[in-house]
């Protein structure tokens, strides 16, 4: 397996395995059998949020969702956020372990800390190197958004 790519976030290095695909909403995507893909947070997203305290989905397994439809929300030590569907499709399962004890998301971002699986077209997702490029392009603006909010 190739070495993961690294995105430099100040002192923190976000590790991005090359065998995964990535979404614009900072989730990773692992295509599996039968057109189902598994999704979770990239370590980039987790670095921004830090320790996940509370995770909740407002859609159930079996729900069909639109791209960017709100599907849940999250509270972490540093942030709150709505969560949006990375692609259009049908949610096939959610990780109940992560709902019970969300710290698993921080402990194992790319394995046991997965969030949900869904069917749907993943063509719009990026490779690790495309994702790094995407992060580079947006890094300054991201920092502005973060700092802007802190000063509000």
């Amino acid at each position: 397996m190739a070495d993961p790519l690294i995105f430099d976030m100040g002192k923190y290095e976000a590790r991005l395995p090359t065998e995964l695909r990535y979404c614009r909403n900072h989730m990773w995507c692992r295509p599996e059998a039968d057109g189902v893909s598994r999704f979770g947070f990239s370590t980039y997203a987790l670095r921004l949020m830090q320790d996940v305290y509370f995770l909740d989905w407002c859609v159930s397994e079996g729900a069909s969702v639109a791209y960017k439809q709100q599907i849940g929300n999250i509270e972490t030590s540093k942030a709150v956020s709505d969560l949006f569907s990375p692609i259009a499709g049908t949610i096939t399962s959610v990780n109940s372990e992560a709902l019970k004890d969300p710290s698993i998301i921080n402990v194992s971002a790319y394995e046991n800390g997965w969030l949900f699986t869904m069917t749907g077209e993943t063509l719009g997702t990026m490779t690790a190197s495309e994702y790094v490029e995407y992060l580079n392009t947006n890094w300054e603006q991201t920092q502005r958004i973060l700092k802007g909010q802190m000063h509000e």
Partner: protein, 340 residues
Amino acid sequence: MSRQRLTVVLSQAPGKHPAKRSLEESVAAALILEPGLDVSIVPNLYDLGPDHTGRLYLQGVTGDLLVFSWHFPRAAFWLLDRMGVPGKMGESLIKPASDEDDTETEPPEGIGSGAAIPDRHIYCIDLREKHNAEPYLAEVRRIAAECRDRRDEAQRSRPAAAAPLVQLGFGLTPKVPELPAFTPEQLLAPPNRRWYPVIDYSRCTNCLECLDFCLFGVYGVDRLDRILVESQDNCKKGCPACSRVCPEQAIMFPEYKTPAIAGAPVGEISGLKIDLSRLFGGEEKDAVSQAIAERDRELVADGRQAVGTAVGLAKRQPASPAAAKDDLDKLMDDLDALGL
């Protein structure tokens, strides 16, 4: 001195939040050692259904009450009111930080709670305010003393004519009501998560915009035509749309992520945490278009048609140019002019 004790109830955070759990435990431990208090722990107040033991217990408390929860005090107070636990709002010194510039100058005049308000005070404290037990303990002592003084004062000012009756043994001192006895296990039975709006009747002017806007039948009116949350289980999980259209910010979703909707003091921006929704794919919209988008999403999820701005927003549309007055209008004007 009155024998009545202050009841302190601690409402747990939903989910497993290590920092919150540990604060709850240390506050509870400190309170249990404190004399003169009745201390109980219940699951998240917001989730307590009508039959939950924790709710029955709260309804059984007739004296002064202090509730610790992970909600803004305004949200917790009106949540209790809705649950059939009304009282006068007690003011805690531990409250959301207030910024002079942001404080609202003229709050709306609300219609007030629909319930008969018993002569007792309810204090609500947000456990997000302090990170260790000591300040809370000090505040509990202060509130307990305040309640005691208030009761003593009330007793002293009772009409003197009543005194002989006391001597005859009829006892005018209110009998200390027994608190309902429930085991901690009963009180802590885990409830299911719930989602519904809570109305702050100190702000609600009964304009009924929420009734017009919500197309899921959550709202209704009582016999006096006062707005109420009638069918809370019709409410769509995660949807705070009605709160956004309320012109008086009287509708709260105590567990919504943004403080303004969760019941923060009106006019203040208490930026507790950064909101990353924009980075994670959300879009920024003004309140009304956001509310319309949220409502349309829920309508479609229910297999119904999205209605956009067509329904329930009449009062927010720009005023239409006044049509020429017809005979009926003239008649009405003439009648008004008579000043009958």
